[in-house]
Homo-oligomer: 339 residues x 2
């Protein structure tokens, strides 16, 4: 049998970098070769939030996931919560606006038990005025990966990364000019699992069921739009009262809630959204407003794409997670690999 921790020589031929996307709940590890091509990929559940015992635990988790790759003598580069204050080593936030091609100058570094250093990508801080700071870690690397695939976007765009904590990142001339975090996915999960709203919803597996109930989702989007993105706490209760009054069937209520929350997120994030209503995608690209790009889980991006279109805004493009490409890009900027 094939030992997953002992890849064939073929797989490691040309390997130039070990990249890690080390988030709160998951650790993903790539062996990257020329041009950033993914030669092999591994993952584990050793997310940073589970490793509460300090450096030794992080080191052991790295050895478990990377295994024999560590013997190849390659540079090691990680992004994500591994660089938080509760991670392996804090990589201090870099303040916005910040040029993405200079991020490699702010890497933190730890010594691993193999003797090789592991470099850690810093997160970003957006703190334009007192009282409204925002932070991200890991998404900066995904944005770098996105730009590696479509350099024209560096000129100006809004990158929307939907998820537990949706990130809206504004790019201009290769700089992150600012960003905003919206707790859409976490709020959905809390309300779906623990709130009074869940009582009228039939049990369904998973956070976002693969099958979208379009009646419910569109009704939620329309409710958000009617309220102009305001009074969310009253709108949430409508996921109960629409069920109690049988204006929506029980099986539509979970996606009504999803549509409501995503609708509020989009209405808050889209600048001058009334103006955008009906504006076709090519006009956005023609420079009237920055193009909007979706990055993340395909099914979730599809949900956002539908929501955007219903609100009159066509996204420019949709991309899957891009941390591996971003790590390669950073390593190239640091001079460790040939671009």
């Amino acid at each position: 049998m094939h030992d997953p921790l002992r890849p064939s020589e073929q797989a490691t031929a040309g390997a130039a970098l070990i990249g890690l996307d080390w988030g709160s709940s998951q650790l993903r590890c790539w062996l990257l070769g020329p041009g950033g091509v993914v030669l092999a990929e591994r993952s584990s559940a050793d997310g940073a939030s589970r490793l509460v015992g300090g450096a030794g635990e992080f080191d052991a988790a790295l050895c478990r996931v990377a295994g024999d790759w560590l013997g190849l003598g390659l540079p090691l580069l990680a992004c994500g919560m591994v660089g938080s204050a509760h991670g392996w080593r804090e990589a201090a936030y870099v303040a916005c606006p910040t040029a993405l091609d200079q991020l490699h100058r702010h890497l933190a570094v730890v010594q691993t038990s193999t003797g090789a250093p592991l470099h850690i990508v810093p997160g970003l801080l957006d703190d334009p005025r007192p009282g409204t700071p925002d932070v991200l870690r890991g998404e900066e690397t995904q944005v770098l990966g996105l730009l590696a695939g479509d350099p024209a976007l560096a000129g100006g765009c809004t990158v929307v990364m939907p998820g537990t904590h949706s990130k809206w990142v504004s790019l201009r001339d290769g700089c992150v000019t600012g960003f905003r975090t919206r707790m859409t996915g976490e709020l959905y999960a809390l309300l779906r699992q623990h709130s009074v709203l869940a009582r009228l919803m039939p049990d369904q597996p998973g956070e976002h069921p693969a099958g979208l109930n379009l009646e419910g989702f569109d009704a939620g989007l329309d409710s958000a739009r009617r309220a102009g993105g305001a009074d969310l706490m009253a709108q949430l209760f409508s996921a109960r009262s629409l069920g109690l009054t049988r204006q929506l069937p029980a099986q539509a209520l979970a996606d009504y809630l999803s549509g409501l929350l995503i609708g509020h997120e989009l209405l808050a994030g889209l600048p001058g959204h009334e103006m955008l209503a009906g504006l076709p995608g090519h006009e956005m690209l023609a420079g009237r407003v920055d193009p909007l790009v979706l990055v993340g889980d395909a099914a979730l991006c599809q949900r956002y794409c539908h929501a955007l279109q219903r609100l009159g805004c066509t996204p420019h493009s949709q991309h899957s997670h891009s941390a591996a490409a971003g790590l390669w890009q950073l390593a190239a900027q640091a001079g460790w690999v040939t671009p």
Copy 2:
């Protein structure tokens, strides 16, 4: 020793009504005498949401809490979730606008095992246009109790009942013209207990600690005001980023979240809130806008009172729970007791 289920003859002298506020999680029971005076009070944890076995369970819970009072031959009147579709007997919602002095014409009735009927107060439905229905049960009775104590408010006021599901009830000429539910308390509890925001907050007992951290609470109110009551999901994340960046100390974060949510509730509920900024209470009473009245838990009302004043709006008055007085009022309107 005194048996709590066997009150002295003195306590039952003049008793004219057994009133019950039968909510989701709690059952309160009063023995009421002339003028609605509370002669005795009992309560139990037999809330409607725990009695899933049907009528027999409700009947047993009634016998447990009311005990020997049931032998006094008094009329029995209950409000709250006992009248929901999952309660003892559904008391169909009465649609707004509705005259509060006519509610007694819509009572539902069940036979108890003692042979006496129990009447149940209907909830209210506010469904001004398709897609935005709202419902309440129990609060209609509290509003009746409020008006019994201050009849002038029936002319026109907004009654704010803060709690798990805050209710904002609009009154005009003795009618409930409409109302709105905001899930402020439930959202606070979910985020305080289960979300990523809780990780930076020191453990504290209870949902709303008695001691208010004013620095945090006021900062939350100010954040809500700066955002004009919009983009709540981004503002929620600031309860994390303000902690991470040490712009707020850890012990201020829970009340920052409380202030944020209450601020968003108030900004959504107050009509033309920008106009209200700085408007003193007596001008509201003088008829420029309807007076705002708080009804509920004293510590929570005090929190709302502070928040309202910081937003430039002085509430007219503050009252404790008023269901017992409302039940007496309904019984008087039904002709069962002398007003």
